[in-house]
């Protein structure tokens, strides 16, 4: 249970890690845009605030100049001045004038202050002020000019909102563009990929990759075409080699066989020598069988035996059983054919014969004393089973030249051929070992 869960997690993680090529730059671009835009918020704020404050300083200075000039131009009496200042201070909130003692006079300065604004109903309003001292009729006065400035947090929020808006637009744009690019630009790549997926070295059908106007894809296609052509050539050479080698071996084998037959006619040979000569036939038969099988495999792979017909399987099977009956009887193995219905199979007759022969011979060979062989059919599964002592090695069962039995050596090609024939017609072959019996079942499709 835990294992299943673990597998699910792993799969899920893998899916998460696996992503489309274009999503990688998209993620990077998006992240980069996010960083830049976040960094831009304080930068914008600084720029806006500086311009704003500069502008207000100029404004405050202008107001100051205006006031100073006003007092200079209008020759007012001391009382009038005091009066005007009082009235002014009450009505004009941004400007404060008050008389100071000469020792209080300082240099002009600029400041910022935050205080509540009861008119705007705000707790902390930011003000930019200018403090200056000037003289009217020889008396020092302190002049304060203050102007309301946008608060820091308000500016930051406004800039952030705008930035986020633009960021969203940017991301949406990225995604849409990405989608468009991935379908358009990657089309030739996907075509190539699909072609490659359908390529089968065995079928010998060279693939035709579409011409692309994108340099990288065109280069890829060219390299792939070259690679595939090379592969086909090497594969063909290899197959041709097996076929030629087997052909070449037939003649010396024929010579050996005929020499043995001739030698047996020699009247000067004694019994022992004759016996020795006769035993030569056994290894010779083995070599000749291996050679035949190699040739057969090469031919099947080369897609020879292409003519197909509807075959009466029962008939072929019975002929095979008949040929092998004395061999089986000699080994005291009984063959029981339980097939009742008629089986018609589409395929090459020769190949079907070979398949059945190999299965039958194996069943007789790898049997026990007084053993049995059963043959059955339950549409669409044909099965052949025989008594035995040990299970065969499933991993090496259909491999060439690897004996799957720990008991007896053989040339290990019989089942490879059966498998190859099954592959060719998309039949599936299965092996199980139950109740001390080898079971081979072939599912015809």
């Amino acid at each position: 249970m835990w294992k299943l869960f673990e597998n699910h997690i792993r799969l899920w993680l893998q899916m998460g890690i696996m992503s489309k090529l274009l999503n990688k730059p998209l993620r990077a671009f998006t992240l980069y845009a996010l960083i830049i835009l976040i960094l831009s918020i304080p930068a914008y704020y600084w720029v806006v605030d500086t311009i704003w404050l500069n502008e207000l300083d100029v404004h405050n200075k202008t107001v100051e100049g205006h006031i100073k000039d006003g007092f200079k131009k209008n020759n007012l009496s001391s009382n009038q001045i005091t009066e005007a200042i009082n009235v002014w201070s009450q009505i004009q909130p941004g400007v404060k004038i008050r008389q100071v003692q000469p020792f209080e006079v300082k240099k002009d300065s600029v400041y910022e202050v935050i205080r509540p604004n009861k008119y705007a109903n705000e707790v902390g309003e930011r003000f930019r002020g200018r403090s200056t001292y000037f003289y009217i009729q020889g008396k020092p006065y302190h002049l304060l000019v203050e102007t309301n400035v946008e608060e820091t947090h308000e500016t930051v929020i406004a800039i952030a909102v705008v930035t986020i808006l633009f960021f969203s637009l940017l991301v949406i744009g990225f995604i849409l563009l990405n989608r468009k690019i991935s379908t358009q630009i990657w089309r030739p790549f996907k075509n190539t990929l699909n072609q490659l997926k359908s390529f089968d070295l065995n079928s010998q059908k060279p693939i035709k990759l579409a011409v692309s106007d994108i340099e990288e894809f065109e280069e890829l296609n060219q390299v792939l075409t070259k690679l595939i052509d090379n592969n086909i050539a090497v594969y063909n050479q290899q197959k041709q080699f097996t076929e030629n080698a087997s052909h070449e071996l037939q003649t010396p084998l024929a010579l050996l066989k005929s020499k043995i037959d001739l030698l047996l006619q020699d009247k000067n040979l004694n019994k022992k020598q004759l016996e020795l000569i006769t035993t030569l036939n056994t290894p010779l038969a083995r070599v000749s069988r291996i050679n035949k099988n190699l040739l057969l495999l090469a031919k099947i792979e080369n897609h020879q035996y292409s003519d197909e017909q509807i075959i009466h399987l029962n008939k072929v099977l019975n002929e095979n059983i008949e040929i092998l009956s004395d061999y089986a009887a000699n080994k005291q193995v009984s063959i029981e054919n339980l097939i009742k219905e008629t089986i018609m199979i589409n395929g090459n007759k020769h190949l079907l014969e070979i398949m059945l022969t190999n299965l039958l011979v194996n069943a007789i060979k790898h049997n026990i004393e007084n053993g049995m062989i059963g043959i059955n059919y339950q549409a669409p599964v044909f099965s052949i089973y025989n008594s035995a002592t040990n299970s065969l090695n499933k991993d090496t069962l259909f491999k060439r030249f690897i004996s799957a039995s720990s008991q007896s050596p053989n040339n290990g090609l019989g089942l490879s051929i059966v498998k190859e024939i099954c592959n060719r017609y998309n039949w599936t072959i299965n092996y199980t070992f139950t109740n001390n019996q080898h079971h081979f079942s072939i599912t015809f499709q």
């Binding site: 024929a254 037959d261 047996l264 006619q265 006769t278 000749s288 092998l324 004395d326």
Partner: protein
């Protein structure tokens, strides 16, 4: 009897000739396409053994050339190619038999024997040897005019021995004759003992002389 061996492997051709010699067959040889064509145009043969892969041409073309002359020579293809297509097209073109290399010489001899007999005695193909009488077409055997009932395999074996008269035939050649291509898949050929034992017994019971001899250590011989 004249036999033409068209085979580029000279040693194999010689082996064939040596084996057939005892049966009073006279063998001639051709190792190339042109040599073969020359011989065919000049002489008639009872049987032609034809290899398909020849220097200078394909044996199938040669076969076509023979058949175009409307001749009666028996033709056995002996080929290393063992391709079904070659076998089919060879037989279609008019070859009488097809034998794949490597083969046992007794197998070839038996086939030549039966082919020549078939050509010579079209309707009444009856082999007579002393008290033994074999009707090849009806597949019946008589000993002193008494019918002996043989199984198909026993009958085939008898014909095989007659076709290899006075020569030692190995167990392996007999197995190959009975089981065909499958023989070399089988790990032993002891199953032929039973057939031979039965054949011997049936013939002896019918009063036939003991012509089928067991040659200890090597095989059997039909001795006359």
């Amino acid at each position: 009897m004249k036999i033409l061996v068209i085979e580029d492997e000279k040693e194999l051709a010689q082996n064939i000739a040596d084996y057939l010699e005892t049966e009073n067959y006279l063998c001639e040889f051709a190792a190339t396409y042109t040599q073969a064509l020359e011989k065919i145009n000049l002489y008639h043969y009872d049987c032609i053994l034809l290899d398909l892969m020849l220097p200078g041409g394909n044996g199938l073309q040669l076969l076509q050339a023979i058949k175009e002359q409307n001749r009666q020579d028996g033709i056995i293809i002996i080929s290393a190619k063992n391709a079904i297509e070659d076998k089919v097209s060879g037989l279609k073109l008019g070859a009488d038999d097809y034998l794949a290399k490597p083969f046992h010489l007794p197998e070839l001899s038996a086939r030549i024997y039966s082919l020549i007999r078939r050509k010579q005695f079209n309707n009444t193909n009856i082999i007579e040897q002393k008290e033994l009488q074999i009707d090849v077409l009806a597949k019946t055997v008589k000993v002193n005019d008494e019918v002996v009932t043989l199984t198909r395999k026993e009958f085939d074996l008898l014909l095989f021995f007659i076709g290899n008269k006075n020569r030692v035939v190995s167990k392996s050649a007999l197995a190959e004759y009975l089981s065909g291509d499958i023989a070399d898949m089988l790990d032993n050929h002891d199953f032929i003992y039973a057939h031979i034992k039965n054949l011997k017994k049936k013939l002896a019971d019918a009063g036939c002389g003991n012509y089928l001899k067991t040659i200890y250590g090597s095989g059997y011989k039909w001795e006359l």
